[in-house]
């Protein structure tokens, strides 16, 4: 497979690397760039563990071709903290919203886009927003609580 250079913005800083044509963004980020926060759960779009944000929208990195992100802005869970713990991360810790933690990076991406667009989501909005992310451990309730709590905290602040 031929390799192509890919230049893009990852969590605010410019990155460039070669990607094999046909390589998916998940593998490219993990092995090519070394950002291990997006996870492989299925490679078929069904689990959401690989969710990243591309130009402000959640995308499944396992179904995105690495060469297709040329010039685009990619955000991952490892960039969320940015020096200090993000309020969503704090709320996930507080509400026991991560058990094995494998779905968490993807969940955080979906939650972040929701709150960026809708600072006062209802419970139904939250359920809809994370409906593309499976969690086998928590039963979702603690995750929903954590996201709602983050929105409430932000409104108070």
């Amino acid at each position: 497979m031929a390799k192509k250079p890919v230049t893009f913005i990852l969590n605010g800083s410019e990155r460039a690397a070669f990607a094999e044509e046909g390589l998916n963004l998940l593998e490219f980020l993990r092995r090519g760039i070394g950002d291990l926060s997006p996870k492989y759960g299925c490679g078929q779009g069904t689990c959401g563990a690989c969710t990243v944000i591309i130009d402000g929208e959640t995308h499944l990195s396992c179904l995105t071709m690495a060469v297709a992100i040329e010039g685009r802005k990619v955000e991952t869970a490892s960039g969320l903290a940015n020096g200090k713990v993000h309020p969503l991360q704090e709320a996930f810790m507080e509400h026991f919203a991560a058990q094995c933690g494998y779905c968490t990076p993807g969940m955080l991406m979906s939650a972040k886009v929701l709150l960026d667009r809708n600072p006062a989501p209802t419970r139904a909005d939250v359920i809809e927003a994370i409906s593309g992310n499976l969690c086998r451990c928590t039963g979702y309730e603690p995750i929903i609580d954590a996201i709602l709590a983050t929105a409430n905290m932000r409104r108070l602040a």
Partner: protein, 268 residues
């Protein structure tokens, strides 16, 4: 494997061949790539035509590369918003295109079901006149080189209440279809004229329930008509067995789901 990107659809169309597959949102093509079962050339195009949404008097022309999320955000496509919302979860809707949905295999293709019921026509890249969607669905997979869709022309229902869509799935809000049903029942003087009903996940492609349509033609949606249409719902359909439901089950419940949809339309 090679990935080829073309500035215009015309160039992309010329590059297609038996060893190539066109990739739009990639939600299905990338699954094959990941599994090592895709065609050896992948053709993409960044032609802006693909993402245009234009009002055309009595309808809307939707670029084939418009995603479900973009359709949801567009006022001109409000009559299709429940359909776009039914596809996948948020990430899939950000990626999945309407053109790709027309080629999505069973049990996918919910959006195409609605387009079929609305009598949409398809504009193929490099070909003049638009073709009925039905023809494209029928020819799907028959020839070794599949055409590239540039846009889909959808007539806007004159009365929004004349169109309804239902997706039946086991998991909410993100389940895959046990079946989906779309009905367009325009009325003249209280009578149905030009009834179109389409089923998804009830055959190799979205299919029309022509027997049920004939029952409804010229009638009003009274209980007896609905019952007769429901009885004939499966006529001409060819439901498959998969992990979600058996063919037997799909046949068994199709009439009930059609009945519920029609009753809901009648209630308004």
């Amino acid at each position: 494997m090679r990935v080829e990107s073309y500035a215009t659809l015309a160039e992309a169309a010329r590059a297609m061949g038996p060893d190539a597959v066109f990739m739009a949102g990639g939600t299905l093509v990338m699954r094959d790539v990941n599994a090592g079962t895709s065609a050896s050339r992948i053709v993409r195009s960044a032609d802006p035509v693909l993402t245009e949404i234009r009002s055309t008097g009595d309808g809307v022309s939707i670029g084939a590369g418009v995603t479900m999320a973009q359709a949801l955000a567009n006022r001109d496509l409000a009559f299709l918003s429940s359909v776009a919302r039914s596809v996948g979860g948020p990430q899939v809707r950000n990626m999945a295109t309407i053109g790709g949905n027309i080629f999505a295999h069973h049990p996918y293709g919910d959006f195409a079901v609605a387009l079929l019921a609305l009598g949409a026509r398809v504009v193929l890249a490099g070909q003049g006149a638009a073709k009925p969607l039905e023809d494209v669905l029928r020819e799907r997979g028959r020839s070794s080189t599949s055409p590239i869709i540039a846009a889909i022309e959808v007539p806007r229902p004159r009365d929004p209440r004349a169109f309804a869509f239902a997706k039946i799935s086991r998991i909410k809000p993100k389940g895959v279809s046990v079946m989906s049903i779309a009905a367009h029942l325009p009325r003249e003087g209280g009578r149905i004229r030009g009834a179109r009903i389409a089923f998804g996940a009830m055959g190799p492609t979205p299919l029309r329930a022509t027997a049920a349509e004939r029952v409804l033609e010229g009638q009003s949606l009274d209980a007896a008509t609905i019952a007769r249409a429901a009885q004939l719902a499966c006529d001409g359909l060819d439901p498959p067995t998969d992990a979600l439901a058996s063919a037997w089950y799909r046949r068994e419940v199709a009439g009930t789901h059609l009945k519920r949809l029609l009753e809901k339309m009648e209630r308004g």
